[in-house]
C-alpha cells in the first residue's frame, strides 16, 4: 500500500515537474565536470533526478582536466563548471569571464584525496614524513596546480621555504607516477586514485594526506556572467546541488572510517551511482570520497589565500582579490 502511495506521489511530482518545465520552457543547461568522485553530488543529483524535479534539463559534459572546464565556461561551451581551483581558473576569473557561485570538494582531515608519496630510495634514506620534503626533488603535474599549492601550504606550515624544494612539473599524473617509480624524483604529490596502484605494487611509499596536514577548499561551482543573468536557473541548480550535497554528506561521508566509506544498504545505491559516473568499481570508490560541505558552503578565506599565494608566485595576474571573482548573491561563506 505504501509503495502504491509512493508511486502515486512520484507520478504527481513528475506531473508537477512536467507542468513547471512547460511553463518555463525547460531551463536547459550544460555542466562541465570531471569523472572524479570529488564531483559526486553532481552525479547523484543527475542520476536521482534532483535537477529534473527542480525543473532543469541538465546535460553533463565530461572533461579530462580541470583547466579546460574553466576555458569552456569562458567560451560559453558549458554554462556551469564544477572542478578544482587552478591558477588558470583564477586568471580567467580575474578578467571577469567567470564567477564562483558555490563550494565543492575540500581537503579535510580524515578524507584522503591528495597525498604526499616518497620513492623507495628516498624513503630508505630518511624521507618518512611530509615535513622532510624540504630540500627534496618533488614532482607535481603543473606549476600553479592544486598539487603545487598544497606543497606551498606545507612549506608555510613547517616553516621551510618553497624555493628550497625542487618542484618538477611533469605535465601529467602518469609522468609523475613514472618518475616516482623510476626513482628520478624523491617524492610526488598524487591523488589517491593514481597513488593506490603504485603503493600496492611497491613502487612508492605513503607519507601523508594533504587534508590531514593543511585542509583547504579544493573545488567550486562556477559560471559565466552570461549564465548568472538567468537567476532562476542558477538558484534552482544550486538548490538541487545542495540537496545532493546534503545526502552525500549524511549518507556516505558519515560512514567514512579510516579514510574509507562503509558499504551497507544505505550507502550502496549512492556508491553505485558514483561508480557508474567515474567508471570505477565500488571497492575503489569507497577509498576515494572527497569531503563536501553539506550546505555547499565555500571557504572564502582560503580562496583569498590561494589567490594571494598564486599572485605572490607570479602564476596569477596581480590586481584583483577574492571579492572580485565571487557572485556574492549566491555564495554561502563558511
Amino acid at each position: 500500500m505504501k509503495g502504491m502511495l509512493r508511486l502515486a506521489l512520484a507520478g504527481l511530482l513528475a506531473l508537477a515537474a512536467g507542468g513547471t518545465t512547460q511553463a518555463n520552457d525547460a531551463l536547459k543547461a550544460k555542466i562541465g565536470v570531471l569523472r572524479l568522485s570529488s564531483s559526486a553530488p553532481v552525479f547523484i543529483a543527475q542520476d536521482k533526478g534532483y535537477f529534473k524535479e527542480a525543473g532543469l534539463d541538465i546535460e553533463l559534459k565530461f572533461f579530462d582536466a580541470a583547466q579546460p572546464i574553466a576555458v569552456a565556461v569562458t567560451s560559453g561551451d558549458v554554462d556551469f563548471g564544477i572542478t578544482a581551483f587552478t591558477a588558470g581558473l583564477y586568471n580567467l576569473a580575474g578578467k571577469g569571464t567567470l564567477k564562483v557561485i558555490g563550494g565543492m570538494s575540500r581537503e579535510k582531515a580524515g578524507y584522503p584525496l591528495i597525498g604526499y608519496f616518497a620513492s623507495n630510495n628516498a624513503y630508505a634514506s630518511g624521507l618518512k614524513t611530509p615535513k622532510d620534503l624540504a630540500g627534496k626533488r618533488v614532482a607535481v603535474t603543473q606549476v600553479g596546480s592544486s598539487f603545487h599549492y598544497s606543497l606551498g601550504l606545507l612549506a608555510d606550515k613547517y616553516k621551510f621555504k618553497l624555493a628550497d624544494v625542487k618542484v618538477l612539473p611533469l605535465q601529467s599524473l602518469s609522468n609523475a607516477a613514472a618518475a616516482l617509480k623510476g626513482e628520478t624524483v624523491d617524492a610526488a604529490l598524487l591523488p589517491v586514485s593514481t597513488a593506490r596502484p603504485l603503493m600496492e605494487t611497491g613502487g612508492a611509499k605513503f607519507l601523508g594526506w594533504v587534508g590531514d596536514e593543511t585542509p583547504w577548499q579544493l573545488g567550486a561551482v562556477f559560471a559565466s556572467p552570461k549564465t548568472l543573468t538567468n537567476a532562476p536557473l542558477v538558484t534552482k541548480l544550486l538548490a538541487a546541488l545542495v540537496r545532493a550535497d546534503r545526502e552525500y554528506h549524511d549518507v556516505i561521508l558519515a560512514s567514512v572510517k579510516d579514510g574509507k566509506a562503509e558499504i551497507n544498504d544505505r550507502t550502496k545505491p549512492l556508491l553505485e551511482i558514483i561508480a557508474k559516473y567515474t567508471n570505477l568499481p565500488v571497492e575503489q570508490v569507497v577509498g576515494n570520497c572527497a569531503y563536501i560541505d553539506p550546505d555547499g558552503k565555500l571557504d572564502v578565506k582560503n580562496v583569498g589565500n590561494q589567490i594571494e599565494w598564486l599572485q605572490e608566485q607570479g602564476f596569477v595576474d596581480k590586481g584583483f582579490s577574492v571579492d572580485a571573482i565571487l557572485a556574492k548573491e549566491y555564495v554561502k561563506a563558511d
Binding site: 567560451s75 618538477l168 609522468n175 613514472a178 618518475a179
Partner: protein
C-alpha cells in the same frame, strides 16, 4: 580554364598555317613565368600589414583580448621577459637541447641513411625498422622515456634526437638513391676505390637532398622542444609556453610562440647560408 588550354594548344597549328601564307610577324617572348623568386620586401610588408590589422582589430574591440591578445600585449610580455633576464635563461636551455638533440639525431641519421643507401643488408632491415618506428608519437613514450632516462637532460635531448633521426635517415637514403647511376658507373670503370666514390660522387650528389632534409629536421626539433620540455623542465622556451598555457596567460603563451618562430626564421637563414656555401657548384 579548359577552353583557354585548348586555345593555347591550337595556337601553334594556326601559326604554322599563317606562316605559310604571310610574312613572319613578331611574337612576344613566351618563355617567362615558372621561376618564382622571393621578393626582398614583399614578405615583410605582408607581415607588417597582418600585424597592423590584428592590432587594429584588438584596439577596436572586435576581438576579446583573452582569446587573441593584441601584438602590443605580446611585445609587452616579451619585453618584460627580456628585462627580467628570464628570456636568456629560457633561450639558453632550449638552444642547448635543440642543438645537441639535432646534432645527435642528424649524425645518427646520416650514418644510418648512408648505410641503407649503400648496403643491401642495412637496406632490408633498416627500412622496415624506420617504417615501423617513425610514426610512433614521441609524446606517447614520455612516461617510458622518464623510466629509462630519468628527468634530467637526457630524455629531453633524446626526444628531439629521435624525431630528427628518422626524418634525416629517410632524406639521406633517398638522396643517395637519387645520385645518377651513370656517374657511379663511370667512377667504377675508372677503378676509383669505394670510399672515394662515396666521398667524391655520392656525398656531393646526395647533399642537396640532405640539406633539404635539414630544413625539415630543424623545424621538427623546434616542434619537439615543447614536448621535450614537458619532462620536468624549469627553464626553456617550451617549458615557458607550457606554463603560460597552464596558467591561461595567453599573451605570454603567444610571446613564447613568437620566440619559437624567430628561432625558425634564424635556422632557415642559417641553412640558406649553408646551402650557398656547400652547393655553390650547382
Amino acid at each position: 580554364m579548359p577552353s583557354a588550354r585548348f586555345f593555347m594548344l591550337e595556337r601553334p597549328a594556326q601559326d604554322t598555317r599563317s606562316d605559310a601564307s604571310e610574312a613572319p610577324r613578331p611574337v612576344a617572348f613566351r618563355g617567362e613565368g615558372f621561376t618564382p623568386r622571393a621578393g626582398r620586401h614583399s614578405g615583410w610588408i605582408a607581415l607588417a600589414a597582418v600585424i597592423a590589422l590584428w592590432q587594429l582589430a584588438d584596439s577596436a574591440g572586435w576581438i576579446n583580448p583573452l582569446f587573441l591578445p593584441p601584438p602590443s600585449a605580446i611585445a609587452m610580455a616579451m619585453w618584460k621577459l627580456a628585462t627580467s633576464g628570464a628570456l636568456w635563461q629560457h633561450v639558453y636551455w632550449s638552444v642547448m637541447r635543440i642543438g645537441s638533440g639535432w646534432i645527435i639525431g642528424t649524425i645518427a641519421g646520416i650514418i644510418v641513411g648512408f648505410a641503407i643507401g649503400l648496403s643491401t643488408l642495412a637496406r632490408s632491415v633498416g627500412i622496415t625498422f624506420i617504417s615501423a618506428l617513425f610514426p610512433i608519437p614521441k609524446i606517447a613514450l614520455l612516461p617510458l622515456l622518464i623510466l629509462w632516462l630519468g628527468i634530467g637532460e637526457e630524455p629531453k635531448i633524446a626526444t628531439i634526437a629521435l624525431g630528427v633521426f628518422f626524418s634525416t635517415a629517410i632524406s639521406v637514403y633517398s638522396g643517395v638513391d637519387a645520385v645518377p647511376r651513370n656517374l657511379i658507373r663511370m667512377a667504377q670503370s675508372f677503378n676509383v676505390p669505394f670510399h672515394a666514390i662515396v666521398r667524391r660522387v655520392i656525398w656531393p650528389g646526395a647533399l642537396p637532398s640532405i640539406l633539404a632534409g635539414f630544413r625539415i629536421t630543424a623545424s621538427v626539433a623546434l616542434l619537439l622542444v615543447v614536448s621535450a620540455e614537458m619532462i620536468g623542465a624549469q627553464w626553456g622556451i617550451g617549458a615557458f609556453v607550457l606554463q603560460a598555457g597552464n596558467l591561461m596567460q595567453t599573451d605570454q603563451l603567444l610571446a613564447g610562440v613568437v620566440i619559437l618562430s624567430l628561432f625558425g626564421l634564424a635556422v632557415g637563414k642559417l641553412i640558406n647560408m649553408l646551402e650557398a656555401r656547400l652547393l655553390h657548384w650547382r
